[in-house]
């Protein structure tokens, strides 16, 4: 009678599945989902903060109050401003614009012609060498134009403070979630190790090096981390995509722009790889420390 051939050798010397695996997969996937959303919010906060700062720091407003010969003064002021080095663009928001802004509140045709309205001139500055508030004020005064120059400094300070808080908050949340993921993996590895004590002891007594035993758990948790990472990142992509569709184009006005651009997509792709790496590393360190404790 011929003997049957031995079946192929499995890669891992650990049982393929254990009772805790399903729950652990779910927990890691949810943590990865939260971490992905948190990472995208953090990124959106940084991008929005940078845009807000650039918008505020790269522009000034010149206000010319109602006066005799206002139109002439405005035209002269615009000419002076265009001649200043460090100014890239000058846009005059004349009475027509001011009227258009007031009409929604006062009603069309309800603004008398003699109602005094200020004229605003928006000044865009050259990003490389912007003109300072003092230079602009001095140039206007030299041309005998009385105007208020606002460099938005007060708004900038408040914006910096608000975005700084938002950035620190989102980074802290992200760091906490990543730490939680590592702690959960470590805890699960210890539980798995306790359940697999017999396998570990048998391998240990057969003369397996610690690294060989740790590699069995490393592969197991690395693979699980990768699968759970894909699930968590896919869920995050779904939610962010839906949020993007629902928010439309106007969402970036006050709130951070929460969208799935190539960088955001890259973060989601990176998530399973990082989860696998973190799971494998945590499992390895946990097993090695546990083996040393045993001896």
């Amino acid at each position: 009678m011929t003997m049957p051939a031995p079946v192929p050798t499995p890669n891992s010397m650990l049982p393929l599945r254990s009772k805790q695996d399903g729950a652990l997969f779910f927990v890691i996937a949810i943590i990865v989902f939260l971490a992905c959303v948190s990472a995208l919010i953090t990124r959106a906060t940084f991008v929005s903060a940078a845009n807000w700062r650039a918008d505020l720091n790269g522009a000034m407003t010149v206000q010319i109050k109602n006066a005799k010969d206002q139109d002439t003064k405005v035209a002269r002021a615009a000419q002076v401003l265009r001649s200043i080095a460090g100014v890239s663009e000058v846009i005059v928001y004349d009475r027509t614009h001011a009227t258009a802004l007031l009409e929604p509140w006062l009603g069309k045709g309800n603004i008398p012609d003699d109602l005094p309205l200020p004229v605003i001139i928006a000044v865009q500055l050259t990003p490389q060498a912007p003109a300072s508030k003092d230079v602009i004020t001095f140039a206007l005064r030299a041309s005998d134009i009385r105007a208020e120059v606002d460099d938005h400094r007060r708004w900038s300070a408040e914006m910096n403070s608000a975005t700084g808080f938002l950035q620190v908050f989102s980074l802290t949340a992200l760091a906490l979630l990543v730490s939680t993921a590592i702690a959960v993996t470590g805890f699960a590895t210890r539980a798995n190790l306790a359940a697999r004590r017999e396998v570990v002891n048998t391998l240990h007594l057969a003369g397996a090096f610690d690294g060989f035993i740790a590699a069995q758990f490393e592969r197991r948790f690395g693979a699980m981390g990768f699968r759970a990472g894909i699930a968590g990142a896919a869920l995050a992509a779904l939610i962010v995509g839906a949020a993007q569709l629902m928010a439309g184009d106007g969402s970036g006005l006050l709130l951070p722009v929460f969208r799935l651009d190539p960088v955001g997509f890259g973060l989601l792709v990176l998530a399973p790889v990082l989860t696998a790496f973190s799971g494998a590393l945590t499992a390895r360190l946990t097993v090695l420390s546990n083996l040393k404790e045993q001896d």
Binding site: L205, G207, K292
Partner: protein, 227 residues
Amino acid sequence: MLALNDLYMRYSHGPDVLHNINLNLAPGSFHFLTGPSGAGKSSLLKLIYLAQHCSRGRVQLFGHDVAQSTRREKALLRRRIGVVFQEFRLLEHLSVFENIALPLRAAGQMREDYEEDVVELLSWVGLGDAINENPRTLSGGEKQRVAIARAVVAKPELLIADEPTGNVDPQMGIRLMRLFVELNRLGSTVLIASHDLQLVRASGAPVLTINEGKLSAPKPARKRGRP
């Protein structure tokens, strides 16, 4: 080969279970270890196969002072020892073939290098048909044979067996003893703990007796020649 000097052992903070053990096993020797239940046979074997530490004294194995050895060196020492555990310690998620090949795989050998040896050994212990079986499906005696095959597959320099014939019929017991004798003839030092006084007497090998954690001097063989 093995030298134990003034050795004491305890589990955790409990009392000493082994007292002032002194033992020398020469390379190629064959000994039985007997004693009543709870006398310390398994504890002594655990010390020898490096599953436990001594609380006092010195263990020298293959010329190495175990206390001075690194973890890696201890792993390498363990590879030179084959152990048949009383409770078998088979991994139930692996096949019979994989269980037997475990020490070779743990030592980093590739399957193509050991497959033939494992298959041959399986056939020798009468489990050729169970090659892909799960150990859970085997009887106590079959499990014991798998455990023995696993202990001898790497041709260890020191073979330790804790009640290796406890679950097999007398005929298989004799067959397994022949395997130990054959390994001993090939150069392995053999130490077998057994309750089976008939088997011990029949073997004619020197007998170490342990009682209440104290080891008495080896009694010479009652039968002439090797077992």
